[in-house]
Subunit: 399 residues, 2 copies
Amino acid sequence: MEAYNVFKDLAIIVAVAKLFGIVARKCKAPQVVGEILAGLLIGPSILGWVNQTDFLVQMAEIGVILLMFSAGLETDIKELLRTGPIALVIACAGVFVPLVGGALLYMGFYGMSPWGSEEFYKAVFIGTIMTATSVSITVQSLREMGKLKGKVGTTILSAAIIDDVIGIIVLTFVIGFKNPDSDPGRVIMNTILFFVLAVGAGFIFYFIFRKLDNRYPHTRRIPIIGLAFCFALAYIAEEFFGIADITGAYVAGIILCSIQDSEYIAEKMDINSYMLFGPVFFASIGLKTNIESLDAGILIFSVAFVLVALLTKIIGCGLIARVCKFKGRDAVKIGVGMMTRGEVALIVSQKGLAVGLMTPVYFTAVIMLIIVSSIATPIILKILYAKDPAEPALEEKTA
Amino acid sequence: MEAYNVFKDLAIIVAVAKLFGIVARKCKAPQVVGEILAGLLIGPSILGWVNQTDFLVQMAEIGVILLMFSAGLETDIKELLRTGPIALVIACAGVFVPLVGGALLYMGFYGMSPWGSEEFYKAVFIGTIMTATSVSITVQSLREMGKLKGKVGTTILSAAIIDDVIGIIVLTFVIGFKNPDSDPGRVIMNTILFFVLAVGAGFIFYFIFRKLDNRYPHTRRIPIIGLAFCFALAYIAEEFFGIADITGAYVAGIILCSIQDSEYIAEKMDINSYMLFGPVFFASIGLKTNIESLDAGILIFSVAFVLVALLTKIIGCGLIARVCKFKGRDAVKIGVGMMTRGEVALIVSQKGLAVGLMTPVYFTAVIMLIIVSSIATPIILKILYAKDPAEPALEEKTA
C-alpha cells in the first residue's frame, strides 16, 4: 500500500467523526457517542468507506494512550490517595459480580456443568470477558462535562485501573488451568513489581521533570519529553510486566500530575488528541464491528450477555459505593461509569480463542457489549449529572 | 506485531530527536539538523535501536503533509502571485541545469553514449533524480528563523512546488521512452487539470470555510475540518492526478490561507507537528540510511553525484534569481534553499529501478544527497541570513 492511501481514511474519519460529534452535541449527547456511530456508519457494517487497517489500529492505540495520559495528568493526587482504598473495594466488586454473572449466564444457556470440568471453565471464561472496565469512554464523557476531577470521577478512574489489573490476573488464572506455560503466581508478582517500581521510579522522574520544568517553564521540551515518557511507560508496562499499556500511560500521567506545567502538558496532549488520534480511536470501535454476521441464536445470547454485563457492573460497583457512603445518585454514577467495556474485553476474548476456551461466535456479543456500553454510558452519565443541583458550570467549549 | 510495540520506537524517536534538536540549537544550527542526525544515530546505521517500519513511514508521511499544509496556511497569497512568474523561471532553471549536470556526470564516469541509446537514457535518468527539490527541510529552517513569509521564502516555496511538478513530467517523459504504457501527454494534461480544478474548487471551499469560520470563529471544528480538507486534497492529488500528495496539502493550505482563522489552524497543526509527526518525519530520513553498504567505487561516484546535485541547483536557481533582480545574497539563498532533496528523489529512483533505468547501487548516492543536503541547507541558510543587516527578530522560541 502506498503511504498516501492513509490520507483517504483519515480525511473521512476526521470529517465524519467531527460532523457526528457536533450532531451528538446538538442532541445533548456526548460527542464520543457521535464519533463511535460515525465509525459504525463509515465502517464495513454500513457504508464500507473505511476498513480497519494495521495503521488505523496503531493510530487508535496512540489515541487511547494519549487519553489515559491526559486523564493521569489531570488527576488530583490527594483525591486519588483519599479515594484509593474505596476504589479498591469497588473494583473487587466490579470484577467479582460480573465474573459470577457471566458464568451463570453461560450455564443458564448451555446447562450447568460440574466444578472443574471443561464446560465449567468455558462458563467462567465468559464471566472473565466481562470483568475489565474500559475507562476511556467514561474519561472522555466526564471530561466533556468537566467532572473528571471530582470525587466520583477520581473514584471511577482509580477503580477502573485497579479492575483492569484484577481482570488480567483472573484471566491468567483461568488460562493457567488450560495452559501449563502460564504461571498465575508470576503474574501477580509482575503486577506488584510494576507498581512498586512505578512508585520508586515515579519519584525520581517527578523530581527530574520538576527541575526541568522550573528551569524551562512553558517550553516545548516539557510536553515533548512528557510524551516520550508516556510512550516509554506504556511500552515497558506491556513488554516487561504484562500490564496493559494504557495503565502505563495513566501512571505516567499521575507521576507528572503535580509538576507546575502539568496543565500545559495536558493542553498540548488534548490538541493532539482531539485533532486526530481521538476521532480515530473512537471511530475505530465502530469500524471493528460487522453487524452483517448476526443470526437469531447468537443475537439472543448476545442481548442477554450485554444486559448481564451492564447490570452486574452497575449493581456490583454501585452497591459497594453506596455501602462506602456515596450518595444514592453518586453510587449509580459510579456503577454506570464502570460499565463501559473496550479493547481489554476484545484482548481477553482473543486470548480465550487462542487457548480454546471460546469460539469466534461470541465475538459478536463482545463487540455488541462494547458498542452498547460505549454509547449508553455517556448518555446515562450526562442525564445523571444533569439532575444534580446546579454547580458552577465547568463544561468546556469543545464542539 | 502487537500495537504497543510502536510506543518503543516513538518514545526513542521523540526523546532523542528533541535532545539533538536542543543540542543543534545550542550549536546555532537549526533543530531539524539535530533531528535528522538523531535518526541516523538511532537507526540501523549506528545504534540500531529503531528500524524503519510501515507505521513509521506512514507517520512520517503525515508529518510532511502537516508541514506542507502549515506552509500553505502561512503563505501570503499576494506575495505568491507576485513571485509566481519569477518562481516559474527559477524552477525551470532548477530542473534543467541539474538534469544536464547529472547526465554529464554519468557520462563522465561511464563514457559518452550516443543520443537515444540505452546508456544515454540511463545518464539522463541520473539527471532526472536530481531535479526535484524537497522543500520541507527548507520550509522548516525558514520558519524557525521567521523568514518563511518574506519574498525569498515565498519564491523558494513556489519554485520548489513548481519544480516538483516539472520533475514529475520529466520523469514521465524519460520513462515514456522505455515503457509504452506511460503517456507523457496525459501526465501534462492531468497536471494542468489538477491546478485548474484546484483553483475552481479552491474558490468554493474558500467561501465555505470563510462562512463557517465567521460563524464559529476559534472553535475546534475549524482546524479539524481544515485537517480533513488537507488530507483529502493530498489523497486526491496523488490518486487521481498523479501529483505528489505534499503538493495537494500545500494547495489546501493556500486555499485556506486567507480565512480569518488561518493562523489559528496553523497553530494547531504546528502543535501536532512538533510534538510527534515532525520529529518522526525528520528522524525517518536518518533511519532510511544504512551507511554500512558503502564501498570505495560507489563512494567516489556518490560524492561526485552529491556535489553536482548541490552545485547545479545553486548555480541554476541562483543565477536566474540574480537575473530576475534579486540581490546577490538573496540569489544565493534561493539557490541554497532549492538544493535540498528528499522523498521525491527516492520515489524517482524507485521508479527508475522498476523500469530498468537504474541499479540499486545508486541508492547510496541518492540517500547521501538527501542527508547532506538536508543537513547543509539549514546551516548555510542560517549563516546567510545571519549576515543580513539587523531586522526586527521574528525568531520563534521553539526549543
